[in-house]
Amino acid sequence: MSGKYKTPLLDELEKGPWPSFVTEIKKAAQSSSMPQMADDELGQLEKSYSTRLGYWKHGGIVGVLGYGGGVIGRYSSLPDEFPGIAHFHTVRLNQPSGFFYTAEALRMVCDIWDKYGSGLTNLHGSTGDLVLLGTTTENLEPLFAEYSSRGWDLGGSGSAMRTPSCCVGMARCEWANIDAMDICNTMTQHFQDELHRPAFPYKFKIKVSGCACDCVAAIARADLSIIGTWKDNIQIDQAEVKKYADAGMDIQAEIVDMCPTSCMSYDNGEIKINDAQCARCMHCISKMTKALKPGKEKGATILVGSKAPIVVGSLLSWVIVPFIECKPPYDELKDLTEKIIEWWDDNAKPRERIGELIEAKGMRPFLEAIGVPPQPQQVKEPRKDPFFFWAESDFKK
């Protein structure tokens, strides 16, 4: 801690039990070979805290040779006052699927970063990357050489495929209907070119969750959301049901009455499920994990289009394919994803996400382009107004 700046406001945020990011900024200066970066970051941040204004310029385009993304250029608007952060770019390292690490691997990441950057990181960025926070333009190439030679690559940024992300899935979860980590890794590898060389109309994100709990928020934060599900019957272990009851669970109130389709009943200590009516929402399974399990015919639901509110309001992803098998090498999934991206790439204006494009064009041209038939699962309810389009092909019937 160099103590270059007085930071009375930020120091307030070192109080209290939750770990303090202010302490982290102060600590970064200890180990980084460029302590002035974290120092000046702290100084500028203190200034922001007193003026209530940020001091960052719009990012310029910086990066590594042959790639168009992976680095977010960032410059202080007060380079004279805070020269240490005149350049303060972030580097997005593509995280391993499921965010698993060994201490050894993480140490190596830290060592390189202390050499070429501020010593500050985000574990992880909202998209999933291991974010390295603050370096200079000239350090980008050596940094990339060091990381890539050791098996690490950059993640996405700009109008490109973004770093796919997933839940912990089969690695540690009994409900995973698909191998979320393998799918995430496979898709990441499959789309390396699209990830590193922005050539899309805008960003395109993929997220994979093993079940409807959606622990990676795929349905809300991915252009392509892959969510595991099953087709057959929930597996019930009645002996375990009894144990839950014995342990004091109010099965009627907590499970049966909360089932959204009312397809369960609880009589004489046994749970019965009318599986044809089950929506596979995961409520009962998640609250009675020892007694109930997803079925055996597993696959994924494919949804498309979610994004943040800019420009036309937030979108959640829409069901496109209710059920698709997901087994390595995932050809069907890759193929579908390629078709989806192709249609979007062919039709979108710059800065138009796929959800916005579908809204603008309607579902039909999209579904026709990717070869998916209309199905009731794609809608909450059918259209309300009597205005609907007919194509020539409809008349031939």
Binding site: L13, F21, R52, G54, F100, Y101, D111, D153, M170, P309
Partner: protein, 356 residues
């Protein structure tokens, strides 16, 4: 000091090399899990093998020094195996049951925040704020720290009706999951951007800038070769500023944050939901945003006191009705609460049945 040879398009390291042996052996064959304490759980495989998880809160913004300390602990108690969660918590993956308690003890001794598992408040998803983003209209990390300090016992001890997911976004780009969170803070502008005509003329493509406005508030101004903004129409979204930086949206006097509630992501019981506006505005009040923190605590408390077991914030509110939410929380209902953007039709009440 010659550099090693760079490689391209290799993608991330394969996750397999980072999996503890017990996970590799039981991959896809887990039978059930049990939450043992707010910060520990065990997953049991069909084989009978067990993996213990010890979860620890993280500020997400981590220094390499701190990461190394965490690595030290991982090596001491779990052969170096650890992971991070999708909400940025740290998870120690302990294969040896006997090491769980000592790990927890050392963590607590070192003031780590052990918790976040089960029906409680987990880590706050947040974004860059003044720490790194040019678009930031508030700081994210500071608000998060202030909230988590206040809700600390909901992370480490207390239970709630169900998980409560909190998020903070430092501008309406919403790089976090604010739009589908139980409770969230989003920074908002309230004044029409100020146009620096000279630089707009120099730096920006006028048609792109005009097209960037969702409410068609922007018109080209042939005289200045810049643009003009119709005050009546501007919703302060800042999209023009993203596309054309000399359209300056930041206004330290009148910027601040809104609180939204009732969103969720999982499809359990009820469909995923967007968050809805609870409180339209608080002034930025660094370093600890006390009114924001109080407001969130109030909402959380009212939820805890009124929701049924397993009900998420949004499920509770939908059951009792938003009329009731405003009554119970004592939050004032304003014009800002009434949608006049894309969801207006959905959200106006079209029923003669409601609560007074």
């Amino acid at each position: 000091m010659s550099l090693p040879e760079r490689k391209t398009d290799i993608g991330p390291p394969h996750y397999e090399q980072f999996l503890p042996p017990v996970i590799k052996n039981n991959y896809g064959k887990w039978k059930y899990h049990e939450v043992l304490s707010p910060g520990t759980m065990v997953h049991v495989a069909e084989s009978g093998d067990e993996i213990y998880t010890v979860r620890v809160g993280s500020p997400r913004l981590l220094s390499t020094s701190s990461i190394r300390e965490i690595c030290d602990l991982a090596e001491k108690y779990c052969d170096g195996y650890l992971r991070f969660t999708t909400r940025n918590n740290i998870e120690f993956l302990v294969s040896d049951k006997s090491k769980v308690d000592p790990l927890v003890a050392e963590l607590k001794e070192k003031k780590y925040s052990v918790g976040g598992i089960g029906p409680r408040v987990s880590n706050i998803i947040h974004t860059q704020g003044w720490v790194h983003c040019h678009s930031a209209c508030t700081d994210a990390s500071g608000i998060v720290k202030a909230i988590m300090d206040e809700l600390y016992e909901y992370f480490t001890e207390k239970t709630l009706p169900n998980k409560v997911r909190i998020a903070v976004a430092c501008c309406v780009n919403m790089c976090g999951a604010v739009h589908c969170s139980d409770i969230a803070v989003v920074a908002v502008h309230r004044k029409v951007p100020v146009v620096d005509d000279e630089n707009v003329a120099k730096m920006c493509e006028i048609p792109t800038t005009v097209a960037s406005c969702p409410t068609s508030a922007i018109r080209p101004n042939p005289k200045t070769k810049s643009i003009t903004i119709n005050e009546e129409k501007c919703m302060y979204c800042g999209n023009c500023f993203t596309v054309c930086p000399p359209i300056q949206i930041h206004n330290p006097e009148e910027d601040g944050v809104a609180i939204v509630v009732g969103g969720k992501i999982g499809s359990l019981r009820t469909s995923p939901k967007f968050s809805k506006l609870a409180i339209p505005f608080f002034y930025n009040d660094p370093p600890r945003w006390p009114k924001v923190v109080d407001a969130i605590k109030n909402i959380l408390n009212v939820y805890a006191a009124n929701a049924r077991k397993h009900e998420r914030v949004g499920e509770w509110v939908e059951r009792v009705g938003w009329e009731e939410f405003f009554k119970l929380t004592g939050i004032e209902f304003t014009f800002q609460h009434i949608d006049d953007f894309t969801f207006m039709r959905d959200t106006l009440r079209t029923s003669a049945a409601f609560k007074f």
